[in-house]
């Protein structure tokens, strides 16, 4: 029954959809790592060749060229790096902020926990993307500000999730037993509650990656992300608008890239949830 890494991997391998998701994610990581080697025109991230602008897909340019004549395929590969960086850091930071807050709020039953949860409620009441836009707009377009905007709007989600899970974990008999044995609140939270809610967090993280990437791309599309000539995917779609529908490859390439990456995370996250979430686990006894 148990969640050792080996077990999880073997279960995942049997589930075709999560295998597809895992491949997509692996693909994204590999591309991000080896972009300089894989891109036929790595210099096109910064260089431009106006005479070759807006050429359609061909053998030398798989996805054609953009308005500056740069090879879109190569730029997409480098764009993967930006996407991963934003997603990983934004989620990482929001988890690091939100989880401890959720734990503390869940353990205490006083004004501290109420206060923390009301603050999260306020943040959660505003649509994430609107808030992110406001923050990014105020601070100016850059990759760091996108990450900041995303983290600042995402931590309450983790706080609320962990709060609910902590509250429920505290009713478990083994937690009660530990407290009865004299365990301090810190020990209970860190060594008993946290490991037992970790699978929830991991699953939501994976599924959340997809949404975060989408929001980051939206911010890029609105011009709030890293400025030109950054090959960020959302920005590229924005650039392509004035050249549609003739230069269809210009928007399709980044669009397909975003689609594949988000779907990859969603499929993988679903598969992970089916294994880790006890509620959806099928029982074989009786």
């Amino acid at each position: 029954m148990f969640e050792s890494a080996k077990f999880i991997i073997s279960k995942l391998a049997k589930d075709r959809t999560s295998l597809v998701g895992a491949c997509l994610i692996a693909g994204l990581i590999l591309i991000a790592l080896f972009a300089p080697l894989l891109a036929p025109y790595p210099q096109d991230v910064t260089e431009f060749h106006p005479p070759e602008r807006l050429l359609g897909p061909s053998m030398s340019h798989f996805f054609g060229t953009d308005r500056m004549g740069s090879d879109i395929f190569s730029r997409m590969l480098f764009g993967a790096r930006i996407t991963i960086a934003i997603a990983v850091i934004a989620i990482g930071v929001s988890v690091l902020i939100g989880v401890p807050i959720g734990l503390i709020a869940g353990y205490n039953k006083n004004w501290i926990s109420d206060g923390l949860m009301r603050v999260s409620d306020i943040f959660l009441a505003v649509p994430q993307i609107i808030l992110a836009i406001a923050i990014a707009q105020t601070l100016g377009p850059s990759i760091e500000n996108v990450i900041l905007a995303l983290s600042a709007t995402y931590w309450p989600f983790w706080a609320r999730l962990v709060y609910a899970e902590t509250r429920s974990a505290l009713t478990e008999t083994y937690v009660e037993a530990s407290i009865a044995l004299g365990a301090s609140p810190f020990r209970v939270m860190v060594f008993h509650v946290l490991p037992n809610i970790s699978s929830s967090i991991i699953v939501r993280t994976t599924i959340g990656m997809g949404g975060t990437i989408l929001t980051a791309a939206a911010l890029g599309f609105l011009g709030l992300g890293p400025p030109a000539p950054s090959p960020e995917w959302g920005r590229t779609i924005a650039e392509s608008r004035e050249f549609l529908p003739e230069a269809w490859w210009y928007a399709t390439a980044p669009g397909v890239a975003i689609f594949l990456v988000v779907m990859g995370f969603n499929l993988f996250g679903d598969g992970l949830r089916d294994i880790l979430d006890p509620r959806t686990r099928r029982s074989h006894d009786g």
């Binding site: 008999t173 009865a180 044995l181 004299g182 037992n196």
Partner: protein
């Protein structure tokens, strides 16, 4: 405040007028009344004895165990353990207490963290309460494992990888690492197959001797209680209705509820319960108890007097107590 002094031997635990009331709220979160899970319970436990607490669902025996243990905070009353008052301590004070007063859970499997190896669960109490080094802790754990007859390789297993009976032993072992003096056993044989039950009960007795323990044995299984306990307290709807030495109570129960409870137990080889069993109906709604004696609505001996006053636990003779104004010596 009545103190139940018994035969002069060392009293390890004394409870006086202990109550735990749970508020009942309606759909709008307004308090509409109290569920008196335990109400004015007074009891003294002697060092070295096994005191049985019996009763059916809703009688409050489990709540009593948890309140003594400090899992619930008492609504009123006092709990005096080894000379010190322990009701309503703050968490850090009560933590020190945990070394001497411990509790086993009805479902032993769920009292162990499913993600922790058993070795780690056994190590935890020592880590919390002692300054022993890793090797010394390991030695103690091995000692305890030996005392409960579990093989050392269990230390590397997870709770779900061992049987229910073994889980129970692990739960016991974990408590014993702290060398408590009083252990509250909450339904220690529930869910066990009959053949395993005997082994566990024998283990309890062995451990009692080895570690010089006193037990409060909470159970609904009267045949087990009869065999294991020195004295027995019978509870009904939050109150103790009878208290005394086990054999004496079983042979001649004085409270009508005790009598019906004991007569409901099938006795293999004896007459059949179903022939003569007289108790009808069900216990009343605990949030709306009848006035006076809570048993009077089902009692064949009830009189007008029973509705007027709430009977208290009265010492009849020797060590026998009961809470019935018509307490009889024998039931025919």
């Amino acid at each position: 405040m009545k103190v139940k002094k018994t035969d002069g031997s060392d009293t390890i635990l004394e409870i006086n007028e202990l109550s735990k009331w749970f508020p009942i709220t309606n759909a709008w979160n307004r308090k509409t009344g109290d569920l008196k899970a335990i109400d004015g319970v007074s009891l003294a436990v002697n060092k070295g004895e096994i005191l049985g607490v019996v009763g059916e669902s809703g009688c409050g025996k489990s709540t009593l165990g948890k309140t003594i243990m400090g899992i619930h905070k008492p609504s009123s009353g006092s709990i005096n353990f080894e000379g010190g008052e322990v009701a309503g301590l703050n968490p850090s004070q009560s933590r020190k207490l945990r070394k001497r007063l411990q509790y086993t859970y009805q479902d032993p499997g769920s009292s162990l963290d499913p993600r922790w190896k058993i070795g780690r669960s056994l190590d935890e109490p020592l880590k919390i309460h002692t300054d022993l080094s890793k090797e010394e802790r390991f030695e103690r754990v091995r000692e305890i494992l030996d005392a409960v007859n579990l093989p050392e390789m269990h230390l590397e297993l997870y709770p779900h990888e061992i049987s229910g009976g073994q889980q129970r032993r692990v739960g016991l072992a974990r408590i014993l690492t702290l060398h408590p003096s009083l252990v509250i056993l909450d339904e220690p044989t529930s869910g066990l197959d009959v053949s395993v039950q005997a082994t566990i009960l024998k283990l309890f007795l062995d451990l009692k001797k080895k570690f010089d323990l006193t037990y409060i044995f909470i159970s609904h299984d009267l045949s087990v209680v009869r065999m294991m306990c020195d004295r027995i307290a019978v509870m009904y709807l939050g109150k103790i209705v009878e208290l005394g030495p086990t054999e004496a109570v079983f042979k001649s129960p004085r409270h009508p509820y005790t009598q019906s409870l004991l007569s409901a137990i099938p006795e293999i080889g004896g007459g059949r319960v179903t022939e003569n069993f007289w108790l009808e109906g069900e216990p009343p709604d605990p949030s709306r108890l009848p006035s006076g004696c809570s048993f009077r609505t089902r009692c064949p001996f009830q009189t007008q007097q029973c509705a007027l006053e709430q009977p208290t636990l009265v010492n009849r003779a020797g060590d026998r107590w009961d809470a019935c104004i018509h307490s009889r010596k024998t039931f025919s």
